[in-house]
Amino acid sequence: MTFFAPFCLPFIIGAAVMFTVLLVKWGVWLYRLPRTDKMTILRGIPTRRTPQAVGEVVGEALLHRSIFRVDPLLGYMHMSLAFGWFLLIAVGWIETVAYLGLRYVPLQGHVFFKYFATGLEHKPVFDFVMDLLLLFVLSGVALAWFKRLRSRALGLRRTTKHVLGDRVALSALWFIFPARLVAESATCGLYGGGSFLTGSLGGWFSAHLSVPGLMNLETAAWWFYSSCLGIFFVAMPFSRYMHIFTEIPLVFLRRYGVRSGEKASSMDQFQTQACSRCGICIDPCQLQSVLHIDTVQSVYFLRDRRYGMLRPETADNCLMCGRCAERCPVHIDLNTLRLNSRDALRNLPDERRYEYLRGLDRSSGSGKVGYFAGCMTLLTPRTLAAMERIFEAAGDAVWWADREGGVCCGRPLKLSGETDAARKMMRYNTDLFRKHGITTLVTSCPICLKVFREDYDLEGIEVLHHSEYILRLIRAGRLLPKHDATRFTYHDPCELGRGSGIYDEPRAVIEALGELVEPSETRENAPCCGSSVANTAIDDGAQLQIARAVAAELEATGAEVIVTACPLCKKAIGRGAQQPVCDLSEVVAQRIG
C-alpha cells in the first residue's frame, strides 16, 4: 500500500504547518523564560510533580473535569470533542497496528485508514469501536451547534463573541466529523465494512446512488474531510484552538512552580494562549451582569493582549474581584496577567518620587502588636474606634502605625500598574514595622492584608486580618462578646475571601455573636461591592448600581445587620443598602463589656 492519494495533500500541508508553528512557539517561549524559571523546571522534572502533571493533563485537557463543575452538559460537550477525538486517534493507531502489524505507516495512512484499508479483511470489532467513538464526537458537535442556538441549556447566559479567524477555525472543526462520517460511509458503501454508523449510512448510499455517483461522492467527501482538517490545522496555532496544545505545557510549568509575576514574562505566553475563549468567565463578571459592559472580560482581555491590540480602556476596566479566575477551567492566573499588562502600559520608574517619605514616622504607642488601619479604615472611624475598644478589652499593648496618618500600603498603586512606585511604599512600611520591633501586625483592611502577605518581606512578623485576630481572642477567652438573637448576614470582601482565602474566621466570629444567614452568592462566588480600587474606568453611577445589586442580595436574606470585614466594602455597600452595614469589629465591640 502506498498510503497516498491526492486528497491527502491539504491534510499533510496543514499538519506540517501546525507542527512547525507549534514547535517554534514552544521553543521560543521556553527559551525566553527567565533563568530561575528554567532551573525550577529542571529541578521539578525528576520529582512527583511530573506524574501529577500527567494526571492533571488527562483530567483537565482530555476529560475537562473543571467544566463539568460549571455545567454537566457543557462538560460533556467539551469532553466528547477532546477525549473523543483523542480516542479516535489512539484507537485508530491501534487499528492500523492490528491490521498491518508493527510497520511504518505515514501520518495520513493512520488518519485516512478506512480509505486505504478497503482491500483488507475487515475486523468488525474495530469497525464497531471506531463508529462508537465517532458517534461520541458527533454528539459533542451536535451539542456545540445547539449551544449556538440556546447557550442557556448548557449553563451559559452569554457566550463569547468570536473574531473572524476563530469563526473560520470553528467552522472547519464543526465540519471535520460530519465530513469524516460521510467519507467513511461512502467508502463502506462501495467496498463494504463499517458498523452501525458508517456501515448503515454506506448501505443507504449504495441503495440510493449509482456506483459512479457514489464514487464521485467518495472522492468529494474525502477531499472535503481532508480540507477541513487542513484548514483547521493551519488556523489552529493562530486561533483560540492554540489552547489544545498550550494547556499541556502550562499544566507542567505550573506544577513545577513557574508563575507569572507583576512584570510581564515568557510564562504569560503559556497562559494567554492556553485560553480557549470558552466564555465561562463572562457570566460571573458583574460588569457584564449589572452594567452590560461586554468587551472587557478576561476572555476579551486575553485575546486583545495575545494579538497585540490591548487598549488601556480594556486593561483598566476590571474590578479584579477574581470571580472569573475562580471559574476558569484552565486556571489561568487572570488577575496577575491583568496586573502586568497595566504595568507594561503605565509603569514609569522615577527615583525622585516619594522623596517625602524619608524620615517620616507618625506612629504612636508601643507594643509587640502593631495595628495598621490603612487609608480606608481611616475613612471609617467607627472601625478604628471599635478596634481600639477591642485592643483595650483584650489588654494588648498596641503600636499604632498610622492612626495619625500614615503611608498607603502600596496595593492601589500596584493595582494601577505603577509597580515601581508601589515598591517604595512597601519598603517604607517594612522599615517602619521593623524599626518598632513588632511581632504581630493586625490590619482591618483586606487590601493591605493581601499586599502585606504577598509582596512584603515581613519574616518574623505575623500578619493577621482583624477577623483572625478577634477570633483568636475569643477562642483564648480574652474577649467575651455577648451572644444574642440578632440575625447577621456576611459579605465576603474580594481581597479577603478569594484574595487571601479567609472565609471561615469572620463567620466564626459572627456565630459567636448571633445567628448568621448566608446570601445566595457567597464565599468563592461572593460578588464585589463595586468600589474596588482596581477599577479606574467605571464611574460613580456604575459603582452605585453594582453596590445596589449586592445590597439587594444581602437584604434578601432577611438579616437585621449586614456585616462585612473591609472598610471599602462597608462604604460601598452602605451607599446601596437600606439597612445598616457594619464592620465585623463594630458588631464585636458593641457586644463586649
Partner: protein, 113 residues
C-alpha cells in the same frame, strides 16, 4: 515719594490669563474625563488625602490650576499622590478622582519619553 513701611505687605497680584495660557492639554483632560467639570471645588478630596496629610500636596489646587492651563510643576505635584482612593469615596459629586489623577499624569508627563 518713598513707600511707607507698615510692617506688612500684600501678596503680589496673580492673575491667570486664560487668553495667554495654552488650554490644549486641559481640554484633552476634560474631554476624556468630562465629569471633572462637575467639581464644585469643595476640597473634600484634599481634606482626606493621605499624601496631603504628609506634604503640601493639594489635589484640588492641582486639578484646578491644570484646568486653567497652569501646568508648571503639576506633574511633579501629582506624583506625590499614592492613589489610595479616599478622595473618590468622599467626593460629593461622585467624580472618579483616581481616574482624574491617572489621566493628569498621563497627559502631563508619563509619555515624555
Amino acid at each position: 515719594m518713598a513707600t511707607i513701611n507698615f510692617g506688612y505687605t500684600i501678596s503680589k497680584p496673580r492673575a491667570i490669563d486664560m487668553d495667554r495660557n495654552n488650554l490644549r492639554k486641559s481640554d484633552e483632560i476634560l474631554r476624556e474625563m468630562p465629569e471633572l467639570q462637575a467639581c464644585i471645588g469643595c476640597g473634600s478630596c484634599t481634606a482626606v488625602c493621605t499624601a496631603g496629610n504628609l506634604t503640601s500636596f493639594n489635589f484640588r489646587r492641582v486639578h484646578t490650576l491644570i484646568r486653567r492651563g497652569e501646568y508648571q510643576g503639576a506633574y511633579e505635584e501629582m506624583n506625590k499622590c499614592m492613589l489610595c482612593g479616599k478622595c473618590r469615596l468622599v467626593c460629593p459629586r461622585g467624580i472618579n478622582t483616581r481616574g482624574v489623577a491617572m489621566l493628569i499624569k498621563r497627559k502631563l508627563g508619563d509619555n515624555r519619553s
